[in-house]
Symmetry: C2
Subunit: 213 residues, 2 copies
């Protein structure tokens, strides 16, 4: 792939403030965006996430009210709420290992060692108390993937962290699911009048954020 | 950009287990990878991260010993340690706003409202106690960006979470810097004998990870 066009895409991307609500993401583009989430890597491959694509206008209105009333929620083409596991259970690991066994044809017995490593870490080990934060971090890799893919195909995005996760959980009925809202991504097309589109990017120089040792 | 080739790249990517230590990432490719980190979005644009590219063999050996002795640390072309702020201070916000003022020519006075919002949230507000986790999450967006860009230009990666962050902090001398290790990414080229390269991806079907409401 052309290095030039990747750089162009990354520079073209910005956090959209005002979406053009008349433009919708076509099915073919959406399929690739969805697949970018699905193909994202995660620690141990566990995929501790569920993405909720909200299309119902009434629900979007409710979510907007819990997002500092930001217009992106209702004006974008597709609003995707990122939710992640609050803890990792043995059953999560077993579901994943069954999937792996099915896809790769590895007998479950051969996955016991891997199972023990995961259980001894994020399920029952020292990191298990931090499993919710761990899962949230993983989902931000997926956030990076969907936003970069979007930029590459000319779809705009806005990552949304300015929202009330508890209110989202209530509206989306997540309380008893073992998943909780961490953030959202609005996807669609920038409005011609979004003045933020023309603003220069504010980034530290590479010398400030990268050290070589 | 061709949708087909993006999908190919995402499917081509996998977590490399064995790098070809004889192959190094050329300067031009590295510049784009570095730029992908730099152009990553973060909450409020604060960029609460520092990336450490470790090239010294002795240091890499020490880090490998604290990473379950995984060979990726020493055999990859470029090993990038992700470090993030442990807390967000007023000075972090002011440094960022000065940068913004300089780049966009906005007088600092006009950024006071934005400053207050940030201070009332991640610096002094309810989320300030979670600032370290917040900063770590942001850095995983950058992790997504560098891994997707790498895949698009045929550079392999392995995200590394199986490491002792405290030991990394000690080796890299981070204790008094306000930054702490969260993870790392090894970049380079897969070894012809890495059998993991041929394994099928283990991913839940989209119906399991995506709901539409």
């Amino acid at each position: 792939m052309e290095q030039h066009s990747i750089l162009d895409a990354l520079q073209w991307r910005y956090a959209v403030k005002k979406f053009d609500s008349s433009r919708k993401i076509p099915a073919k583009e959406w399929a690739l965006l969805e697949e970018s989430l699905r193909l994202s890597p995660s620690s141990y491959g566990l995929q501790p996430w569920k993405f909720i694509r909200v299309k119902t206008p009434e629900v979007l209105q409710q979510l907007r009210a819990e997002s500092w009333n930001q217009s992106q929620v209702t004006d974008c083409s597709d609003y995707v709420v990122f939710t992640t596991r609050t803890e990792m259970l043995e059953s999560d690991v077993d579901e994943f290992l069954k999937l792996q066994s099915g896809i790769r044809g590895t007998p479950m017995e051969k996955l016991q060692g891997y199972r023990d490593v995961i259980l001894g870490d994020i399920v029952k080990g020292p990191r298990s108390a931090q499993a919710a934060n761990w899962a949230q971090r993983q989902s931000y890799i997926a956030m990076g993937f969907i936003m970069e893919t979007a930029a590459l195909i000319g779809v705009d995005t806005c990552p949304m962290e300015g929202l009330d996760p508890k209110a989202y959980d209530r509206i989306l009925g997540l309380e008893s699911t073992g998943y909780r809202t961490v953030a959202a991504v609005a996807l669609g097309y920038r409005h011609a009048e979004d003045r933020y589109a023309g603003e220069k990017k504010v980034r530290y120089p590479i010398s400030r954020i990268m050290e070589t040792r």
